[in-house]
Symmetry: C2
DNA sequence: CTTCATACCTAGAGTATCTAGGTATGAAAG
DNA sequence: CTTTCATACCTAGATACTCTAGGTATGAAG
């Protein structure tokens, strides 16, 4: 992942959801909404391109599943993705600490 | 300010610096760098447009100062700006809490 | 007198998000 | 049975912010 939180942070959030278990795109949107208490209520036009980016860089891999009759693309995090998640978390820790400093909030 | 942290957050950061005392643009860049421990080391091409945005929306006001020989545009936060800062801080609190949830970090 | 830090500015490139459209299936309601 | 809604995928183009890369000008230092 990049070492700047300010851009492409959705990629890190998706890896954060996928770190526990694989999921398909639509499901990720819902989990992101649930886990964030509706703060991240993102349109598909935002999330799908992000997933395609992550797959292109090898952070996640996908496979089609049709067991439910309805076709789904299941995404799973790769070892590369876990490394990217770790550096993304570090970037977040630095970024959030700095914002707290600048805004004069408890860090 | 907008209720979404993800976009236009630099505006809130600048208000955070200006909440204590007025400052000119170049100085704000340095203070942002100092206060954030170099995490926010932003180019002028990023910061000046942000200041112009803030002035256009009435969150800050500016005046020219030539007392140092070198001309400087001094920015001060307005009452509107303080209100915008408050809502920006609320947006940040919600956003950062949600990121911590999604990434599984201590919130 | 040249170089560097200060101090301002903007146009255009780059990039991420969002809007708005499209397709298709399963379930529920009437 | 057929219409409607949630599921489930996709992309093209608009929007918006950041950054690059240029420009100008002054004061200080060497």
């Amino acid at each position: 992942m990049k070492e700047n939180w300010n851009t492409g942070n959705l990629d890190t959030l998706l890896l954060g959801i996928l770190r526990q278990r694989a999921a398909h795109g639509y499901e990720l949107i819902q989990k992101l909404k649930e886990t964030s208490e509706a703060v991240f209520d993102l349109p598909e036009g935002t999330v799908y391109p992000s997933l395609h980016r992550l797959e292109k860089t090898g952070a996640i891999s996908s496979s089609w599943d049709s067991s439910s009759g309805r076709r789904r693309r299941i995404y799973a995090i790769t070892p590369n993705g876990r490394a990217a998640l770790q550096s993304g978390k570090k970037a977040w820790a630095k970024y959030s600490h700095s914002v707290n400093m600048v805004l004069g909030m408890s860090s």
